[in-house]
Subunit: 135 residues, 2 copies
DNA sequence: CTTCAAATTGAAATGATTACAATTTGACAA
DNA sequence: TTGTCAAATTGTAATCATTTCAATTTGAAG
């Protein structure tokens, strides 16, 4: 509650009820939701919410470094308020996007072949541990 | 010419003029073109070409392992007939997609945290060597 | 309380991709 | 060579995520 208000104020982002709700949702649901999933869920408690506001807020939070976009699924973007560098797996069985914490040396930003690297995205496609029916 | 005909026959893909042209274009232009770029370019010499055919052919070639999709640019897919595993950089200055040949241990498919990995995609965003104006 | 730039809203536009039905074509056999 | 037919091609229309836009509302400052 106060936590999100504080985050917005620290970043100098104007505080609105919609931004607080979206920020809270992302912070309490680490499921890498799409814009539509955020919209559907929050509209239950805030029926006046507009999908445009979801997109606007996502962009604002992204510009201030409070969330990252996950494009492992090419047909829609997903969003992640966990901003420490990590990779993602899209499970073709359950559709979930799962965090992959691997020690890839390129997880941290650096130079590769003379190019300047600003962002690193590691995307895997496969079948998650749970769907494999493992022990 | 004969090269592409041979490739299609070996894979058991029915040979058509459109498939030969698209395959040749991808093999001679390693620029990671979008479906629209392939369409625009080939339509110059084959005015009857349909964009649907470009999409259909891309899917067919992909299913037979003759091309990969590059989704470093979230708003449109790009295509690559170089099928050995490698990563990609999207330059925010010139818009080009450049191959990144790095020794990431996850370039080859393997298991990570109990999940089964079928595809590995490494996407970088930044500014390419040429646009940096470096020596 | 007033003010006003910024945020929100809903509707319309955009743009990549897919679905579909009619037409054409490639491979094969007569 | 010709006939056949499943598969490929084509153009149009539909889909769907995302963006644009103008009107309305709201948060923060004074
Ligand atoms: Mn994540
Ligand atoms: Mn490539
Ligand atoms: Zn799964
Ligand atoms: Zn460049």
């Amino acid at each position: 509650m106060e936590k999100y208000l504080k985050i917005l104020k620290e970043k100098g982002i104007k505080v609105t009820a919609q931004r607080l709700e979206i920020l809270r949702f992302l912070d309490t649901h680490h499921t890498h939701p799409s814009a539509d999933e955020i919209y559907i869920e929050l509209k239950k408690r805030s029926p006046a919410l507009s999908k445009t506001t979801v997109y606007n807020t996502i962009q604002s939070l992204k510009e201030h470094g409070l969330l990252n976009t996950v494009n492992v699924d090419s047909h829609e973007s997903r969003f992640d308020s966990v901003i420490n560098p990590h990779h993602h797996l899209l499970c073709s069985a359950c559709g979930n996007v799962i965090d992959i914490e691997i020690e890839c040396p390129y997880t941290r930003k650096m130079l590769a072949g003379g190019h300047r690297i600003d962002e690193v995205h590691g995307y895997f496609k496969g079948v998650c541990k749970d769907c494999l029916g493992g022990e």
